[in-house]
């Protein structure tokens, strides 16, 4: 798979990775002095690779994503990305004073796309997330699933090599989430984006990713990694997905149990 190839071709040129996280630690000033949130994380995301970061509360997965997005700086270690990454949140974070289409056009404008190209490009991107005709819709007129698709289109409009996703489907109902998993997989394969996807949902991680990285909690450390070679299209109820999910869940539970012992 792409994963192993990219890993084998581990070099120093920018093109060999979409994101490189090297010995990154992060601590915040807490009530009990400095609190270590992330401890010595080293992780590469290859071009076109889909990686999910999985962990329970307090594993610092969102913190790590913020660091990769450049919204915060690591305490030690280095992060390099191939250009500025796009970021999608659990909340759609669309601007309510703009229509769906104008939200996408703003991303294009801030990237420096010429005015007369923006409208057409926005329509194209809406087509990509199967929302043709939604250009003039206000954000509040869209359903939760539609909003996340517009947010996805807006993130793709940035033409970043790397898409960071912070539990983007966690607030959706199960049916919509399942459909969006299919959509994301389709779009990822069409656009050849690299995706770093944070979740606490094991099935979601297995269903989407080529590689699942399990983080331990307090402080967040890489506990284990799995390469997922179940062929696409996958379904949430596939036996292969279920079997790997059971294995990963066991491991995750073990990680969580350790915290109850002291």
């Amino acid at each position: 798979m792409a994963t192993t190839l990219a890993k084998a071709a581990d070099g120093t040129e920018a093109a060999t990775h979409a994101a490189r996280i090297e010995h990154v630690s992060k601590s915040f000033a807490g009530p009990a002095g400095q609190q270590l949130v992330l401890d010595d994380i080293t992780l590469d995301v290859a071009p076109g690779e889909f990686v999910t970061l999985l962990g329970a509360s307090g594993c610092g997965k969102s913190t790590l994503l913020n660091l990769v997005a450049g919204l915060d700086r690591p305490t030690s270690g280095a992060i390099s990305t191939d250009g500025r990454p796009a970021l999608m949140f659990q909340e759609h974070a669309l601007f309510p004073w703009l229509t769906a289409g104008k939200n996408i056009e703003l991303a294009l404008k801030l990237r420096g796309v010429a005015k007369d190209e923006r409208r057409g490009r926005a329509e194209e991107l809406l087509g990509l997330v199967r929302l043709k005709g939604a250009h003039g819709k206000r954000v509040h007129e869209l359903s939760g699933g539609m909003r996340q698709r517009v947010a996805l289109a807006r993130a793709i409009a940035q033409e970043s090599k790397l898409l960071l996703m912070d539990e983007p489907f966690a607030a959706l109902d199960a049916i919509t989430r399942d459909v969006l998993h299919d959509e994301l997989t389709r779009i990822w394969r069409e656009t050849q984006l690299s995706v770093l996807f944070v979740t606490h949902n094991v099935r979601e991680a297995v269903r989407l990713a080529q590689r699942v990285v399990l983080l331990s909690s307090r402080p967040g450390r890489i506990a284990r990694e799995w390469t997922v070679d179940i062929p696409h299209p996958r379904r949430i109820e596939d036996t292969a997905v279920a079997e790997l999910s059971v294995e990963i869940t066991e491991e995750l539970r073990g990680e969580i149990r350790r915290h109850g012992q002291h």
Partner: protein, 298 residues
């Protein structure tokens, strides 16, 4: 695993698009405008009834001799007569226009000063610490307090009126913008930053539009303060050369002990204040809120 793959492939493809279209249709809320009849019964009828009731009580007080002194309480008919008289002499619109033009022009200047001031207080920490509390404090100072110093500094003229309006309205407008900016959800700022909207770009594309509802609320309050300050200035600093506005009309009525004229002036001041709000600020506010889905329908 091979069998899983074939069935999965069967279910994928065009099927997904159809499924998604169905979900979208099911979850999209249809909204439409209310029929006029409903609007009439819910919005127009109640205030009309309330006004009719006040007029009826007023007329009753006079008719049944409960208040039997026209210098204390003129009849509604007498006030109507004074209004009609002013209209026929062609003076009525002149009174209104003198005050409204002052009020709106003063408000416009207040807007030009209050907006950058508010932005500065909201975005520059030092400026906020320095003048933020004073700005909020000024809101609770009745603007009539500014009339005596303004008369002494500027004399009895239009500039003095504008000065009083500015001192009344600028803090409201600036504070509205400050609270609008403070209430911008941090998520929008983060989203803006990942899209590349930082610095001035961030202010223009994210902060200002996100702060618009608070800003408009500030404008609305700013207008109310402008109008009140102006009336205070016109009543206290009435001077024949300045032209007769609604405040002067009230003061003239008092000097002539003409209670009908006093009532006429009060009615006009109230009506104009409400009308400007209903015609300009309320529609503006409703439009801002509705376009963002923030207007909750009763």
């Amino acid at each position: 695993m091979a069998s899983t793959e074939t069935t999965a492939q069967d279910r994928d493809g065009g099927d997904l698009a159809g499924l998604e279209a169905g979900l979208d249709a099911l979850e999209t809320v249809q909204t439409g405008r209310k029929p006029f009849r409903q609007t009439f019964v819910e919005k127009i009828l109640p205030p009309v009834l309330a006004i009719a009731l006040v007029l009826a009580v007023w007329q009753a007080l006079v008719s049944f001799g409960i208040v039997d002194d026209p210098t204390k309480l003129p009849s509604p008919g007498a006030v109507w007569g004074v209004l009609q008289d002013a209209w026929l002499k062609g003076e009525l619109l002149g009174y209104i226009w003198t005050s409204v033009s002052r009020g709106l022009l003063g408000f416009f200047f207040a807007l030009l000063i209050g907006t950058p001031l508010g932005l500065l207080v909201a975005r520059v920490r030092f400026v906020r610490a320095a003048i933020g509390p004073i700005l909020s404090g000024l809101q609770s100072l009745p603007s009539v307090a500014w009339v005596p110093p303004a008369v002494i500094w500027l004399g009895l003229n239009n500039q003095m009126m504008y000065a009083v309006i500015l001192l009344g309205a600028v803090p409201s407008i600036a504070n509205g913008l400050v609270s609008g900016v403070d209430q911008v959800p941090p998520l929008f700022l983060r989203a803006g930053r990942t899209l590349g909207a930082t610095g001035l770009k961030g202010t223009w594309h994210i902060v200002l539009p996100a702060a618009l509802p608070g800003y408009v609320a500030g404008l609305k309050q700013g207008w109310a303060f402008s109008w009140r300050s102006l009336m205070a200035a016109e009543i206290i600093a009435s001077f024949p050369d300045l032209g007769v506005g609604l405040g002067q009309l009230l003061e003239n009525g008092r000097n002539a002990s003409d209670m009908a004229m006093v009532f006429e002036a009060i009615l006009l001041i109230l009506t104009v204040g409400i009308a400007i709000d209903l015609l300009i600020f309320s529609p503006l506010e409703r439009w801002v809120l509705r376009s963002r889905g923030l207007l909750v329908k009763g």
